[in-house]
C-alpha cells in the first residue's frame, strides 16, 4: 500500500516538475513587475494635464473646443453658438519626454510651448507606487493690443503654468491624480492678483466600460489669486475609439489655456458650479505613429 503511494507520487513527479519548471522559468525570465499603462487615456484628464505623455515617435494632435455658457439660452443653442478652440500638436521624443505647441483663440490668442517630462513610472507590483510627470508651459499672447487702455508689452504677453503631476492607478478602473500648480503672469486682471499664483489640482478617472470612463477635476488656487475668482472645475467623459479619444465635458471655466483657467475662472454670484454658468466642451485627440 505504502509502496503504491510512493510509486504514484514518483510517477507524477516528472509531470509535476515539468509544470513547475515552466512556471519557475517563466517567473525568472519574465518579471511580473511591469510599468502600469493607461493611468489616463489622454494627455488631459479633462482640461488639465494628466500624468500621461505621448509615446516615443508618436505625433499627437489635440483639438479642444469650449462653448459658451448654458445661460445663453435657446436662441444661442445654450452656448453652442459661441466657441473658442485650441489646436495642439505634441511629439514624444522618448517614452519619457513629450514636447508640444498649441494655439488658442480666446483671451489674447495665446500660443504656448510645453514640456512634459516623466520622472517616475508606477509599477504593477507597487515597488514604485505612483507615477510622476513634470509639466511646464510658457504662453505668449499674439493679439495686436490695439484699442487696449494699456500697452501690451512683450513681458505682459507672457505667462506660464508649471505642475508636478502625481498619479496612481489604483486598479484597472480607478486612477487619481494630485498636481501642485504654479502660474506666473505679468498682466493680471486686478492688482490684488499676484504675479505668482499657487494651487493644487485634484483629478480622477473611473472606467465604466471597456472604452468609456468618467473623469473629473478641480484646481483650487491657494495663493496669489483674488478671492473673487472661483476654482476651475470640470466633469467629463472619455470615449475611446481606435486611435481617437473623445473627451466630452461640462466646465465652469470659459478658458482653455491652463494659466487663465486656473486663475481667472468666474462663475457668477451664486456658486462655483452654478448650472447657468457652466459650459460644454470637448477634446479630440489622435495619435499618429511616425
Amino acid at each position: 500500500m505504502k509502496a503504491h503511494r510512493i510509486l504514484l507520487t514518483l510517477a507524477v513527479l516528472p509531470f509535476a516538475s515539468g509544470a513547475d519548471e515552466l512556471d519557475s522559468a517563466f517567473a525568472s525570465a519574465v518579471p511580473a513587475n511591469q510599468p502600469v499603462y493607461a493611468t489616463f487615456k489622454a494627455l488631459r484628464v479633462v482640461e488639465s494635464q494628466s500624468v500621461e505623455t505621448t509615446q516615443k515617435g508618436t505625433l499627437n494632435g489635440t483639438i479642444s473646443h469650449r462653448f459658451g455658457q448654458f445661460s445663453n439660452g435657446s436662441e444661442n443653442l445654450w452656448g453652442l453658438d459661441f466657441a473658442s478652440m485650441r489646436l495642439g500638436l505634441d511629439y514624444g521624443f522618448t517614452d519619457w519626454t513629450d514636447v508640444g505647441f498649441e494655439r488658442a483663440t480666446n483671451d489674447g490668442k495665446p500660443i504656448d510651448l510645453f514640456l512634459k517630462q516623466r520622472l517616475l513610472r508606477q509599477t504593477s507590483d507597487g515597488s514604485i507606487p505612483l507615477s510622476a510627470t513634470w509639466y511646464s508651459a510658457g504662453y505668449m499672447m499674439t493679439k495686436t493690443g490695439k484699442g487696449l487702455s494699456y500697452d501690451l508689452t512683450f513681458e505682459r504677453r507672457l505667462s506660464s503654468t508649471s505642475q508636478l503631476i502625481l498619479a496612481r492607478k489604483f486598479n484597472e478602473n480607478l486612477s487619481l491624480q494630485v498636481s501642485p500648480t504654479m502660474v506666473t503672469r505679468q498682466l493680471r486682471p486686478y492688482n490684488r492678483d499676484g504675479e505668482v499664483a499657487l494651487g493644487v489640482g485634484f483629478s480622477g478617472r473611473y472606467k465604466l466600460a471597456q472604452r468609456i470612463a468618467i473623469t473629473g477635476e478641480t484646481t483650487p488656487m491657494l495663493y496669489g489669486v483674488d478671492h473673487t475668482w472661483d476654482p476651475a472645475c470640470a466633469l467629463g467623459m472619455d470615449i475611446e475609439t481606435g486611435g481617437h479619444v473623445f473627451q466630452l465635458f461640462v466646465s465652469n471655466s470659459s478658458f482653455i489655456s491652463e494659466d487663465r483657467m486656473y486663475t481667472q475662472t468666474k462663475t457668477g454670484p451664486h456658486s462655483a458650479m452654478d448650472p447657468n454658468t457652466l459650459s460644454f466642451g470637448f477634446n479630440i485627440t489622435r495619435g499618429y505613429s511616425l
Binding site: I6, L10, A11, L22, A25, A29, T241
Partner: protein, 185 residues
C-alpha cells in the same frame, strides 16, 4: 521490495526529466493585415517546456511583453483587447504528435502536429496545427508552428468603428529553441 520499487521509480523519474527540454526567449508573433493597417506584436520572451517522449508541450507568455512598432497600438492591445490586468498571461498546453525520434536524432527536420488548448483572454480553445522540429548537434531542438486565431473565439470584441482596420483573425507564428534542462539552467 519497497526499495526496489523506489529505485525503479526514481530511475524512471530521472529518465523522464532528462528528456524534458526548456526554451526561454521563445518568439511568438501575431499579425493581421487589412487595407487600412497592419497589426503586429512580437514577444521574444515566451517560455516553453517540451518532453520528446510524451510529446507534452507547454508555453507561457506575458501579454505586456508583446512589442508593437506603434506604442499606441500596444496600449490598446493591453487595455482594450487582452485586458492584461485581468488576464496577464497567454498560455498553451498540449501535445506534439508524430515525433519520429530516429529522423529527429539523425538531424532531419521532421513534420509534426501540435494540438492543445490555447488560453488567451481567459478563454481556452483547442487548436490543431502543423509544425516542424529540428535537432541540432548540441542537443537543442528547434520548432516552429503557424496557426490562425479568431479573436471572437477568445471573447475579444472588436468595436464597430475599427472593424475595417482589424482583421477578424490573427496569424500566429511561434518559434522556440528548447535545450536540455540542465544546459538551459
Amino acid at each position: 521490495m519497497k526499495k526496489t520499487l523506489l529505485v525503479a521509480a526514481l530511475a524512471i523519474a530521472s529518465a523522464a526529466d532528462a528528456s524534458n527540454l526548456l526554451a526561454k526567449n521563445g518568439y511568438v508573433r501575431f499579425f493581421s493585415t487589412t487595407p487600412i493597417e497592419n497589426i503586429e506584436g512580437i514577444c521574444q520572451t515566451a517560455v516553453s517546456t517540451l518532453d520528446l517522449d510524451s510529446g507534452k508541450v507547454a508555453i507561457k507568455s506575458r501579454n505586456t511583453t508583446y512589442l508593437f512598432p506603434d506604442k499606441l497600438m500596444q496600449e490598446h492591445f493591453n487595455e482594450n483587447y487582452m485586458e492584461s490586468e485581468k488576464y496577464p498571461v497567454s498560455a498553451f498546453a498540449g501535445r506534439v504528435t508524430g515525433i519520429d525520434r530516429a529522423a529527429l536524432d539523425a538531424g532531419k527536420t521532421i513534420q509534426v502536429t501540435i494540438d492543445g488548448d490555447l488560453d488567451v483572454h481567459g478563454v481556452k480553445k483547442h487548436y490543431t496545427s502543423p509544425g516542424t522540429l529540428t535537432k541540432a548537434a548540441d542537443g537543442s531542438v528547434s520548432g516552429e508552428t503557424k496557426f490562425h486565431v479568431k479573436m471572437v473565439d477568445h471573447g475579444i470584441k472588436i468595436p464597430t468603428v475599427v472593424v475595417k482596420a482589424m482583421a477578424e483573425s490573427m496569424d500566429i507564428t511561434a518559434r522556440f529553441t528548447w535545450r536540455p534542462t540542465e544546459a538551459a539552467k
